[in-house]
Subunit: 413 residues, 2 copies
């Protein structure tokens, strides 16, 4: 079943720069899909550091287990990603499969298996036959190029209707530094650690512990601030690679979060993470509206985040948005069910610029027409102020439509 | 938009007995709906005791606030329920409205306003004009009858496609005792205290604190064990009334939970609560499949309940069921995201009688045909055994279909 491109897809992507120290190739291994690439091999120059965040699922995929074992080493020479099969809930065969895949990649690249990171995405519970990678990875290793990134982003798609790419540039010690990221995901999206799959690359020399800090600082407001359907994947993986190639241009290593250059670097990575996260939301299965839920006035930022998630995950709020119904009563309901401190009589709700309710009731002179006009847009801002404290949070989501039912009721991704 | 009757509706109801001490009447007050009743007045003989459970929402309706204030008294002479307007998030006007409604009912019945209990269900945020009850309640009070219960159940419906009624009978001290309950609800259903609205009546003489214990004992496995869409209403109310009329037949008052007759009485009420709860699930908005989710082997019953809810509330599980897809990988995902102790490699999953996965992978000889055959039924049992402990829970739910989107994307109930 070919899916038509999301109406919320970005109209274009900026040019994606090459990242010195990163080369890749893709292949069609026939894992599940016909007539498309489904394997990505990325090879890193020696000296590349890595950090990552992985799903909090208690039923993680075999590839997530592999990454959790090897990420603490902080070094990476290769990354293998396949689409079409998640290699999740595949028992001992899943473990054997990732070991064999890592060994094949290590042999093709000339590194230790522990320096290979792995991800798989697609159907859960189907054994993944690592023999499919036999030859394929060696062939990829013979064709490595520094671009185009679009090919890399395409090879990791499942129900995605468009590839996801983002970039940021900054100057460090007088030299240009680039950050490039790719991601995939459009269903089973309510990450509590990262999205389905996302990989971010930079030529900045950065120590692995600092990379870890950057992710810890920036994931909360990007990948962890989005939800398509409240369902957390078994395979969520976000990896941040720093090749250090810019050291040759005189860029000093970023070895500590106290380095005065840290905020600028973290901000550049954060920009790429948020850009990718929003692209994932915009490709939410069946999405026709992009929704920003802002909660202010909560007792803490964490409390604000839980209220924002309750609104963003409510099927009744999401279906009302799909129907362009300014049904703010459902927002009240969602605030009320969140289980967080809230006082009905202090609550204010806005749809776009239209204040619809405050102090526990509809505003005087409420205009259904004005609120309905906001709902016609394909970008909708919902805001709830709880009036209790200074806690704030923003969550990004999409509407719940017939398209979601079509995709998930009849299609095993 | 008239909704067609749920395909999961009960084929018939048993005869509903009259409850001595309970009389009621319905009326069409024109609150929102045309050509149907929307007000129910129930009048109780003096001596009637009551207990209730109310929504845990932080944004409760004005009627819920009223009940929370007056339920501790434990006595009831009247109940007024309207459909079409929830009188929720209506500020001071909502409070004034319930006070006036209680005063009108008290005058019509001849009791104190504090002996009147109130519920409202329907659209949130619209002020409810209590003037609509002027005359209507006095007229109802002049036409009180002990039946038919079907009329009472019909007057409180909103998006319900059929009325919900249940009954149980038992013998106490040689005399027959009856329990009758009615309920409404089909969306915004994930009660954490009670359903949208449910009222249960008995002629057994029972002290109010004992009624409270009965509800505490039986709500967890009935109304709190169901979910349609994970959205908790602002108006959830469950009230249990005991008229005590059977005392005239020689039935001794049930004054303590240590009374040896308590378990039999609680069981009869529990049977009615579960029956009503399942009728609500079977009328879940857009439902085409009735699903029982059983979790065993959890570290505790509470943990099992949270895992069962994660499965039952997962949009991906619910859409797969709608599509008759035996997508047990999504059950693995839901177990994994629940945040409860779970070990992938001990997990076993059954669809109906078909064991599909155990010990962290698909079973040898797995038959997709056998699993798919289970999904064709309109009653589906999903079971997950976590293999960790003795905790168990059952949650009842329905599938997520185009019908849900139709109802909630284009219809303000």
């Amino acid at each position: 079943m070919p899916l038509s491109v999301s109406p919320l897809a970005p109209k274009s992507f900026p040019p994606m720069p090459e990242i010195a120290g990163v080369r890749f190739a893709t292949a069609a291994a026939g894992i599940k899909y016909q007539n498309r690439t489904d394997v990505l091999l990325v090879v890193f120059d020696p000296g590349t550091n890595v950090a990552g965040v992985l799903t909090s699922s208690k039923c993680p995929s075999a590839a997530v287990d592999w990454c959790r074992t090897h990420l603490p080493g902080g070094v990476a020479r290769a990354l293998v990603v396949n689409s079409g099969n998640a290699n999740a809930f595949t028992g001992l065969r899943g473990k054997t499969s990732v070991e064999k895949t890592a060994a094949l990649a290590a042999a093709a690249v000339g590194c230790a298996p522990s320096e290979v990171l792995l991800s798989s995405t697609g159907v859960i519970g189907e054994p993944l036959d690592a023999d499919k990678f036999e030859g394929v990875l060696a062939d990829c290793a013979s064709r490595l190029l520094a671009g185009p990134w679009l090919d890399a982003a395409r090879a990791i798609m499942t129900t995605d209707t468009y590839p996801k790419l983002a970039t940021a540039a900054l100057a460090m010690d007088g030299a240009p530094i680039s950050v490039v990221g790719i991601a995939k995901g459009s269903g089973m999206i309510a990450p509590d650690m990262a999205t389905m799959l996302s990989y971010v690359f930079t030529d900045m020399p950065v120590a692995a512990p600092v990379l870890k800090s950057v992710l810890a600082d920036k994931v909360r407001t990007s990948f962890n601030a989005m939800t398509v359907d409240s369902d957390t994947s078994t395979s969520d993986t976000l990896l941040l690679f720093a090749t250090g190639a810019a050291a040759k241009a005189g860029v000093a290593p970023l070895a500590s979060v106290d380095d005065p250059r840290y905020p600028a670097f973290a901000a550049a990575v954060g920009k790429v993470l948020l850009d990718l996260a929003l692209q994932v939301v915009r490709d939410g299965e069946g999405a026709t509206k992009f929704v920003t839920v802002t909660v202010t006035g909560a007792v803490s930022d964490d409390s604000a985040m839980r209220v924002a998630r309750a609104i963003a995950n409510s099927p009744l709020v999401k279906t009302a948005i799909a129907g362009e119904d300014a049904n703010w009563g459902r927002v009240v309901m969602a605030v009320g069910k969140a289980g967080e401190p809230a006082d009905r009589d202090l609550l204010a709700i806005r749809f776009g610029d239209v204040l619809v309710a405050e102090k526990g009731e509809r505003v005087p002179g409420y205009s259904e027409e004005a609120a309905s006009a906001v709902m016609k847009s394909d970008e909708i801002a919902l805001a709830a102020d709880l009036g209790l404290g200074a806690g704030t949070a923003i969550v990004y989501t999409c509407d719940l439509t017939h398209g979601y039912i079509d995709i998930n009721g009849s299609y095993r991704s």
